[in-house]
Amino acid sequence: MRNGAGANVIARLENTALAFGSRIILRNCTLDIVEGAITCIIGLSGAGKSTILRLIDGLLLPSEGHVFVRDQDICHVSEDQRNVIRQKISLSFQFSALLDSLSVGDNVALPLREHTRLTHAEIHRTVMDALDSVGLANAYDALPGELSGGMLKRAGFARAIVTRPELVLYDEPTTGLDPIMGAVIDGLIVDIVRRLGGTAVAITHDMASARRIGDAAAMLHGGRIIWTGPASDLMHSGNPAVDQFTHGRREGPIQMELRR
């Protein structure tokens, strides 16, 4: 699957719409996720950014349109087939979503135990490698409740990358972290993509983060993707709504209503 510029596309939303009852979340969205790149999706809170990640992962199915991973339309396959496709994709959750009854090591080992026939020793070694790559080699036996916010994010990353997926989806990876930890996490995302040779999609509100890690960017507003382009163009996109958002201006086409 290739896009208009001839680049390999690992995932594609094609005229995708999603509504829950009368509440419309996405309308006619088309977006290509280019292989080997980090794509940042920006937009207001509640714009449906996380929904896009869940559509790509097959956790949600669109009301209209298609979602392709590689060449496969994941909307028209069985749940078992989707589970197979999901083994190529990892979703790193905003609040990590580690199973709180398992230790960090067991959380990271979970996808390996479920989907591979590796021995206990091989799983332990692979998990230790993944934890080491996010700086948590000493946290194997810790419970998620014993970790700080930044450590939880990194443990979530370790679980997301332990199976060496082709595509990692990061849901607000730096939200709620201090600027230094945010920069560390950004560095990790870039390092993971460059070192493992995968592809990433990151949802963010943080323009500094988007510029630091993004190769490509897309902005979602009003349920539509209103702009796509290189992440380096984010601050001078020429699109008034994108400019308002990226510069954090109160005045502009995006009207925020504060109801009292």
Partner: protein
């Protein structure tokens, strides 16, 4: 028109709930038949859900057996048939109260725990994380709990039967001066092994109700901490109602002839 609308919505909700519960039951049964079972987790759940319920089940059964004995001994002595007290206590305990009280107590303790645990996993996105890893929540979470209860509830029921009868025997002896051998021979005349087995069949059905209602309610949780609270309460209430209803049905089917 509004009443009709409400009735329509309630009907749809009912069938949606029943359908979801049936689907979860079928999925869980499917995984069990394919032997896709996490054995270590099942054993751990059996200890957590079953063994830790032993004390409360024994206490409840002890006092129930004692009160049946107390009430029946009073009447029996008045009518000069004190030799029937053992049979009355065993009959009630083995066929009805043992399985049902164990079911109700476990529904309160374990059904609530299952609903609360799975519900909080939903609101903290842990269930979604499992799905995103290609792990089926029914196989990973529901099957171990269901199997653990299917194994443990009959065992708890046996303990409940024994403790209830023992408590009854003690009260009969101390309160109505009915000797233990008379009490035991009355039991032998009143119930046979098939009664015990039928009581255990009931407990298997109750185990399935408690585990599946708790799990379905937990997995259907919406709306944060308040949602977890609602799920937990509803799981217990519904499981207890279903236990009572199915107990009547099972008694009719199993013991209807005698």
């Amino acid at each position: 028109m509004r009443a009709l609308d409400r009735f329509g919505r309630a009907t749809i909700d009912f069938f949606e709930y029943a359908g979801g519960l049936a689907l979860l039951s079928a999925e869980s049964l499917g995984f069990m038949l394919q032997l896709r079972i996490r054995i270590a987790e099942t054993i751990s759940q059996a200890a957590l859900l079953g063994v830790q319920s032993l004390l409360i089940v024994c206490l409840t059964s002890l006092f129930t057996g004692m009160v049946i004995s107390l009430e029946s001994a009073q009447q029996a002595v008045a009518y000069g048939v004190s030799n029937l007290v053992g049979g009355a206590v065993a009959y009630a305990s083995v066929r009805e109260l043992g399985p049902m009280l164990t079911g109700v107590v476990v529904a309160g303790r374990v059904g609530a725990a299952i609903a609360a645990e799975l519900g909080s996993m939903v609101v903290t996105e842990q269930i979604e994380a499992l799905r995103s890893m290609g792990v089926e929540p029914p196989r990973f979470l529901v099957v171990p709990r269901l199997l653990a209860l299917l194994l443990m509830l009959p065992l708890l029921t046996i303990f409940a039967d024994v403790v209830s009868i023992a408590g009854g025997a003690w009260i009969a002896q101390t309160y109505a001066h009915i000797p233990y051998d008379s009490f035991v021979s009355s039991i032998r005349e009143s119930i046979d092994f098939s009664d015990v087995v039928k009581g255990l069949v009931k407990s298997v059905v109750f185990a399935a109700i408690i585990a599946l209602v708790g799990a379905y309610q937990g997995l259907s949780t919406r709306g944060g901490a308040a949602g977890v609270g609602r799920s937990t309460t509803f799981a217990v209430v519904l499981a207890i109602i279903l236990i009572f209803a199915s107990n009547f049905l099972l008694s009719f089917l199993l013991f209807g002839g005698r």
